[in-house]
Symmetry: C2
Subunit: 666 residues, 2 copies
């Protein structure tokens, strides 16, 4: 038995640089099953492996359809299974590599806009279909693009849902995750100094000048509280007599607005501004949301934090440009702010892109994500929309139109160059009575006042983005990533929906609660933008945040600020986020640089930029994909991560092969 | 019994603004003893009260002698005991109120230097004695100044030492501290919103623009790692050919220095600079100390972080001035950096003051503290000094000379205007075999190679500062506070020595371990500069740091950075320190502003400055001493603190009175 136990501690099949405890123990493939005999029966192991592989195949399918990313290593292992079982490997999955707006060129230029195609567009079952012409439309023969199939999706979803509750799979994943944790601990003890030595040897590169992307930040809260305060005071100095608000026909100057609030902006303080989250917001998302109103006054939010107001969003644009200026000054920091599209009316896109271009909001250090709040119920109760399909149409139809006929929608066409993805936002802890399945009402039939559940939102957003991406790809235009908020609170089923539909997610806290999902997110290397300071004010105390644990196990996590206005104190919100994580969890420089590298990978930055920031071969997995002179991540670390992932994947593949071959352990 | 229990929860005798649970319960004095009957016998209570009062009397005595501060409220209660017992109140204790260098005046001006007095000076038993003339010296008739008496001091010390181990006193203090903690918790629950409302009503003042003093920071580590790196690179650009080092006659240019280190400064990174503390420094003060050497090279420390080198400390001065410039820009931040005097030779003072004045290091946002490392053993083993008295003489005699004959020591005289205190530094966890008592060898007889114990250092530093302060007061010159590092590690007896001798201390972590000392530090409101990020890297994990607990109980704590070079990540080290504490401990704005106010009180800033920063009546205790428009601390908080302290003190006084009167509880 001693030998088996020792083998259980043997950590890699292909150990090279990673010198771990038992280098010399021969770890032949056929021993592997033996290992599991110590913990789990062969049948259970094979069952778990099959389920996990199936889940990975499902994610790969949906990723492929939407031009989302899927890690090469995992894809290779999946291919090896296919090759073994059916002697066939499908064509290579090719994720979209975002094109980059060229340097030096006018970012708002309206030249070189592609021709109109005059396709017909029509929403059916909540999904936009594309028709070559009116005839095709009348015959209902949509253009040959992949359209999602709700029934299949519902089956896939229920497969993964069933599997996260399956006993043997849970045991297997739980043990593998524990193992990954302990293995990293060993790695750290043995290799920490070697990693540090590698980093010391890298000239001119340290944590301060590796690229970091703030992968999750809301534009309306991207400045810190002090910045907003100073900005409000400065506008009052110059613009007191300017008409800034049109309240149902009543035009008010800035001075009148403050008079009505009974307040002198000079006396304003961070305390009276009251936008910072405190102890009062913990588990109170409602209170938190109202913090977006400076001094609790929605007028000020309207004036300073909206794009579509009486002053044409000028103040909001100026604020954002000040934040962008700081990022450009810092040189090494980037951000992906969220701007809102609500789906209340089809004009929102035009208005937003007009604001973007007129106010010249573009910055080379920013890429934009569109967030869609899940607030159908509010619009419905206010009778702004008739059914859920209308909301979807308002959100997506303008994008299809701009893609088909860019000449007709020049501003939107240009704006979309800088938009890299979609986010789905709202309080996840809100419960929904409805259970999404293929029997659920179609969006056109969703006419109740109730809000559709999370999965329903996610599927329909994914479906439209997927069709849109295929259409845009055809035209050689940029595609979009789906990057929803997910797993911040509420049911863990949210994380199942996102596993199928999302390129990457924000938060992911609830992965703590499901070993199967956590292990799947690890195997598929789904990037997770985590914001422990935000969580600390809203849902989970800092000391209980799983970021450190996820990082150690090898999940692809990045650090992000979420809302500097509500959470941060210093002028450098992202650095504050890193500093606190580093101090509290005693992260090493290599840890920090690994997180920073993850943030660039996760981001919607272009292929060109990623090559520049991470190294020419960044798309390759393992150490050969890492240019230490740019990332400051030790090669030992990269090798460790790669070998560990290969090891986990090969266990799964071996289980399937050995079952088919009927091979038994000795 | 119900009534008594309820009374135990009645928190204040003189509740006004503080609305707590049981406003209406009549809490007559004679009930008080009853309360303790529930927990402790009357005899034990009286015994504990007497011990505690005696300890407070002792601290008051030593504070008075050295012109240190003692809180008015506590002094009043002590006076009431004296009045009751012996019908006598001694003259008022008058702490020194540091004079302020006038604004606008040349800070280095050598005009208006007082006349020489030509007193004679002589060290005896490690203490400098002052003689009016040679005749008085020959007859050994020192000038009439208070000189400390070792025997009394040793007795006082042993009294407090005995008392911290006394069972009933420990129980009493432990219970009172628990009570203070719970009471604050109630206060917080009931008054948090009211405090916040008060703060919102204060115009133009918030946490960002209240004054904060970094009460504990070492000059040689006052810049962050990135700042030092950039500075080194910038000097190399302009000064590569400059001779910067004279190594035993061998003169080296900056280029040669880096060549010898086999290093190109352009390639230097924060990693290779290697001055940041990491996991490796935890409980390894030795490793931490070596982090003061950039790239592990003592040459670079010599060139960049020393005042007395071949380039006359120019680089070090420029670095400090850059840090000072940032503080001046921030306007609301101040710092009290430590500069070293070692006691190796009597020329150190002259050299340091020459550097200060030639390099024009003064900044209105900085006041200077002299740190004396406790490293007699090193000098002795290198045969640099013959005995401990020589070290003391090297440290203190030049100060006496500059005080007696300022015309002869003009530079030192001017420098001392900006020096506000002394610090005693080194690794406290080092054990000493010697137990300090009145039988200990006199400093002249301390000729062994062993280092004297902590208390021995403290007494002799205190003694000399005390005499010096009295001499300087006589001449109308500024006096010095003794502000040793204390209670960071090692024996808790350190905290006893400091309770007698220090105006205030840095660290104080070990107060966690002694309820009696913690309660005494509370009653005497001894300021404590705490640095949880420093502790987190060296001695105590952040989550276990007692700062929050101390603050809540009402100890006078401030936040300080200790060594930004080793511990901090952002450009704003002090704000980083506040931000992390605020986030992790969910401190309210009122908490943060209370800490900031404490930091100003603790600091060596002048009376004028404190009046400006805290309000004209800042010397008064309780809400009337607080100007909320300047401090942003709620009056409810101030009232709570004051009433709570009065309540604790009156319990002690009542115990003594009731014992004398023989009054028994009903």
């Amino acid at each position: 038995m001693g030998a088996w136990t020792r083998i259980f501690f043997s950590l890699c099949n292909t150990d090279c640089s990673v010198k771990l405890l038992c280098d010399n123990i021969c770890c032949k493939k056929h021993y592997i099953n033996k290992i599991y005999l110590l913990l789990i029966t062969v049948e259970d192991y094979e069952q778990a492996a099959k389920s996990l592989l199936k889940a990975l195949f499902i994610r790969e399918k949906y990723s492929k359809l939407a031009y989302h990313r899927f890690p090469r290593t995992t894809a290779q292992y999946l291919n090896s299974v296919l090759l073994f079982l059916i002697n066939f490997v499908p064509s290579n999955h090719c994720a979209d590599i975002c094109p980059c707006p060229h340097k030096g060129e006018d970012p708002y230029s309206m030249n070189d806009i592609p021709e109109n195609l005059d396709f017909e567009l029509k929403m059916r079952d909540g999904i936009i279909y594309v028709y070559d012409n009116a005839e095709a439309l009348s015959k209902n023969r949509p253009r040959c693009l992949p359209y999602p199939d709700l029934e299949t999706f519902a089956m896939d979803l229920s497969h993964v849902l069933a599997m996260i509750a399956d006993g043997p799979t849970k045991t297997y994943c739980h043990r593998r995750l524990n193992f990954l944790g302990s293995k990293f601990y060993l790695h750290e003890m043995l290799n920490e100094m070697a990693e540090l030595k590698e980093l010391k040897g890298v000239p001119h590169r340290d944590f301060y000048n590796v690229r970091k992307v703030d992968t999750h930040i809301h534009a309306a809260a991207c400045m810190n509280q002090k910045h907003l305060l100073t900005f409000i005071q400065s506008t009052y100095k110059t613009d007191a007599e300017r008409v800034v608000l049109d309240k149902a026909g009543q035009r008010l100057t800035l001075k009148q607005v403050f008079n009505n609030l009974n307040m002198d902006p000079y006396d304003l303080t961070v305390d009276s501004l009251d936008v910072h989250a405190g102890r009062q917001t913990f588990h109170r998302f409602d209170k938190f949301n109202s913090k977006y109103n400076p001094v609790g006054a929605s007028e000020l939010r309207e004036i300073y934090l909206k794009t579509d107001n009486h002053i044409k969003g000028e103040y909001f644009a100026r604020l954002i440009k000040e934040v962008a200026h700081d990022l450009e000054e810092s040189k090494y920091q980037h951000a992906e702010p969220r701007l809102s599209i609500y789906g209340r009316s089809p004009e929102e896109w035009e208005s937003l892109s007009h604001w973007f271009i007129q106010q010249k909001v573009h910055s080379p250090n920013m890429r934009w994500i569109i967030q869609v709040p899940r607030i159908y119920d509010i619009f419905k109760s206010r009778k702004l929309i008739a059914n859920f399909a209308k909301m979807l149409e308002n959100i997506f139809l303008p994008l299809f139109e701009a893609t088909v006929n860019p000449q007709k929608h020049k501003e939107l066409h240009v704006f979309l160059k800088y938009v890299t993805g979609f986010d789905s936002v709202d309080d996840e802890s809100k419960h929904s009575d409805h259970m999404f399945s293929y029997k659920s009402p179609k969006p056109e039939q969703w006419t109740t006042d109730d809000n559709p559940p999370y999965s329903y939102y996610l599927f329909h957003m994914y479906a439209n983005i997927m069709v849109l991406n295929n259409l845009r790809k055809e035209r050689g235009l940029s595609t979009f990533q789906f990057r929803p908020h997910c797993g911040e609170a509420g049911s863990i089923t949210h994380l199942v929906s996102a596993f199928l539909t999302a390129d990457n997610i924000s938060h992911g806290l609830n992965l703590k609660k499901s070993p199967v999902l956590q292990y799947l997110y690890y195997l598929a290397q789904v990037p997770i933008a985590m914001s422990p300071l935000s969580n600390n004010s809203l849902f989970l105390e800092y000391s209980k945040n799983p970021l450190r644990e996820f990082l150690h196990k090898g999940l692809c996590v990045s650090l992000s600020t979420d809302d500097p206005m509500q959470f941060h104190y210093t002028k450098e919100a992202l650095m504050e986020e890193y500093a606190i994580a580093a101090q509290l969890w005693k992260l090493s420089t290599c840890d920090l640089c690994e997180i920073a590298r993850n943030s660039v990978l996760q981001s919607g930055l272009s292929h060109q930029e990623k090559k520049h920031f991470l190294g020419a071969d960044y798309l390759k997995d393992g150490p050969e994909g890492n240019d230490i002179r740019r990332t400051n991540v030790a090669q030992i670390r990269m090798a460790y991560r790669h070998e560990t992932l290969c090891n986990e994947l090969s266990f799964l593949v071996d289980a399937v092969k050995s079952e088919v071959l009927g091979s038994q352990p000795e």
